[in-house]
């Protein structure tokens, strides 16, 4: 298969189209504007619709309408824009509408900056909007992986009738790499959408809503959503372990940082430091088990993030006191270099338990 040289943002957009996305609603924001730009050119070519909304608030609600009408739909934004979408994301989850939301994170809080960051981890994995729900969150670390996970995201959204987020950062969005577009062969059959609004012809009317005024009914509804979340936890956890077999210390990192960590690990291994990597690919559901298992034999875990310690909390839950944990984070758009990470590993390795 032919490889194409593309930025992460363009590759995500093309992957979405190849996954059957025909409707995109969005609002420009750095560092992800190449996604709407690409969509505005490509979607009309395939008979789809690109629509620039008046705001992220409107864009996410257009997704609500479009998903409810049965479209395969996507939006993309970056941190401040994703904050604006939280209301709509909560409604999408409440109404069980499938859609894909791409967050190419930049530094915050507030307007923050436009350089890469991972500081929306909490927002992405713990809810973000109001109410009892979770997004399924996929965190690619290369452009190629961004392609496969974006395609996967549409399948998972339909499978669970739940919004799925692709969580990248400005680095991944802007970086160019050769990529292949291959459809996954592992996807099962999806049920026909018996709930979409097409006009009440030869059937009783359907309603798409998240309102249940009777608390008993709302509890029942929420428990049903929760069962889907538990099904995701059971079936969808994805994690990469890298050189952990003989490791005495492991780095825990996701996305771009994990990729930089791999370079650090190669350099460290040449020097004889036995270090490996645990890289959550799904940050929700989080691979707690992998951390549980690995800390049976590894005593030290270094968490590295482009934030001030967010995934760190999940790693702590997984490790559950069985290993020493250290944290190294850069924030505000600063990207840790591989030698910074290597220095932290060596420092930690020298520490006595």
């Amino acid at each position: 298969m032919e490889k194409r040289f593309m930025t992460g943002n363009e590759a995500i957009a093309e992957a979405a189209i190849q996954a059957g996305c025909k409707h995109f609603f969005g609002y420009p924001i750095t560092p992800q504007s190449e996604i709407p730009e690409y969509m505005s050119k490509r979607l009309p070519e395939i008979g789809g619709v690109y629509l620039q909304a008046e705001s992220e608030v409107a864009a996410i609600n257009m997704l609500f309408g479009a998903a409810g009408a049965g479209g395969r739909v996507m939006t993309s934004s970056s941190s401040p824009g994703i904050s604006l979408m939280q209301e709509g994301i909560s409604y999408l989850a409440g109404a069980e509408l499938p859609c894909v939301i791409v967050n190419i994170m930049r530094g915050g809080p507030g307007l923050g900056g436009i350089q890469p960051s991972q500081s929306d981890y909490f927002q992405a994995t713990k809810g973000g909007g109001h109410g009892d729900y979770h997004l399924l969150v996929l965190a690619p670390h290369t452009v190629q992986e961004a392609v496969s996970l974006t395609m996967e995201a549409f399948y998972l959204a339909d499978k669970y009738r739940n919004p799925v987020m692709v969580l990248g950062d400005g680095y991944l969005g802007q970086m160019m790499e050769p990529v292949k577009f291959e459809k996954a062969t592992t996807h099962g059959e999806l049920p026909t959408k018996e709930w979409i609004l097409t006009g009440a012809k030869d059937r009783p009317p359907r309603v798409i809503k998240s309102l249940y005024l009777d608390p008993e009914a709302l509890e029942k509804h929420n428990l049903r959503i929760n069962r889907k979340i538990h099904e995701m936890i059971k079936s969808e956890v994805r994690v990469e372990t890298y050189l952990v077999e003989d490791a005495e210390i492991v780095i825990a990192a996701f996305g771009t940082v994990a990729r930089i960590a791999k370079t650090a690990i190669k350099a460290l291994r040449e020097k004889g430091v036995k270090v490996g990597l645990v890289r959550p690919i799904t940050v929700f559901p989080f691979p707690y088990k992998t951390f549980e298992e690995i800390t049976e034999r590894v005593g030290k875990v270094l968490v590295v993030e482009m934030n001030l310690g967010q995934m760190l909390e999940d790693v702590r839950l997984g490790v559950c006191g069985k290993a020493e944990i250290r944290f190294y984070g850069r924030t505000g758009g600063m990207v840790p270099t591989y030698d910074e990470i290597a220095i932290e590993v060596e420092k930690f390795a020298r520490e006595r338990r």
Binding site: V57, N61, M62, A67, Y91, G199, K201, P205, K209
Partner: protein
């Protein structure tokens, strides 16, 4: 001997045989009926999708026998847009109150019209927040007492009531804009005509259409149903003049 009686009046097919939760004398119930009649007459029930707002009419999906969404507060025009763009064959309408359309959702309201989105908005203006218990609305009149303007709306402090019909008329994407009322039989007949024209504008693909309906809210106005119809006539109509502001023929 059996007498054959001709049926000359019945419940519209699109109006479900259920009791609404609206207060006695409320205008919402009348509008629901007009909508149902229009949908029946145009023969579009099986391809109509409605969007209910947040407010007194949040349960509209229980009254109309069509596919419906329940949208977030103010976002119905965006939801309508998403739906229509996926399936342009549908007839899509949003049903919104004054808090929804003229306050929290003004950005969506202005832009759906600016885009000339081929949807229809039924905008209920009763100059008050009914469902939350009678607070000041963006359309509350000068001097009108509400629970958050207890001494009467003071324009110095709160600014001026918004005339949505006039505002949207300035936008090129808006094809049909009218203001009607439902406070007496004659007005109701005119309201029905406007609703029908709005839907026809959409079906003919001419652009965005909106009907603003001055509607009585006896409960939050603390008036009897009869007094409420007079209040529409005497207080609301001078500030919110009725009429067709824009029709497709005039461009």
């Amino acid at each position: 001997m059996q007498i054959e009686l001709e049926k000359i009046f019945e419940r519209p097919r699109t109006l479900r045989p259920v009791t609404t939760h609206y207060c006695p004398g409320c205008g919402h119930g009348i509008v629901a009926r007009l909508l149902a009649e229009t949908i029946d007459e145009l023969g579009i029930r099986e391809r109509t999708v409605g969007i209910a707002p947040v407010g007194c009419s949040v349960l509209l999906y229980n009254y109309l026998d069509v596919d419906m969404y329940e949208a977030a507060h103010g976002r119905a025009p965006a939801v309508a847009t998403g739906c229509k763009r996926v399936n342009p064959k549908l007839v899509v309408f949003s049903y919104q109150g004054d808090g929804d359309f003229a306050s929290i959702g003004t950005a969506e309201a202005v832009h759906v019209a600016a885009r000339g989105e081929k949807i229809t908005t039924i905008f209920i203006n009763n100059a008050v927040y009914g469902m939350t218990g009678g607070q000041m609305a963006p359309t509350t009149l000068e001097g009108q007492k509400t629970t958050t303007s207890p001494l009467g709306r003071n324009l110095d402090q709160t600014g001026y009531p918004i005339r949505m019909a006039e505002l949207l008329t300035t936008l090129d994407g808006a094809a049909y804009i009218a203001r009607v009322s439902v406070n007496n039989p004659k007005s109701i007949i005119q309201a029905k005509k406007a609703i029908r024209k709005a839907f026809e504008t959409q079906i003919r693909g001419l652009g965005y259409s909106m009907v603003e309906i001055l509607s009585q809210c006896p409960t939050a106005w603390h008036l009897s149903p009869i007094e409420a119809t007079k209040w529409v006539e005497e207080k609301m109509k001078p500030y919110y003049p009725l009429g067709e502001f824009k029709t497709p023929e005039e461009g």
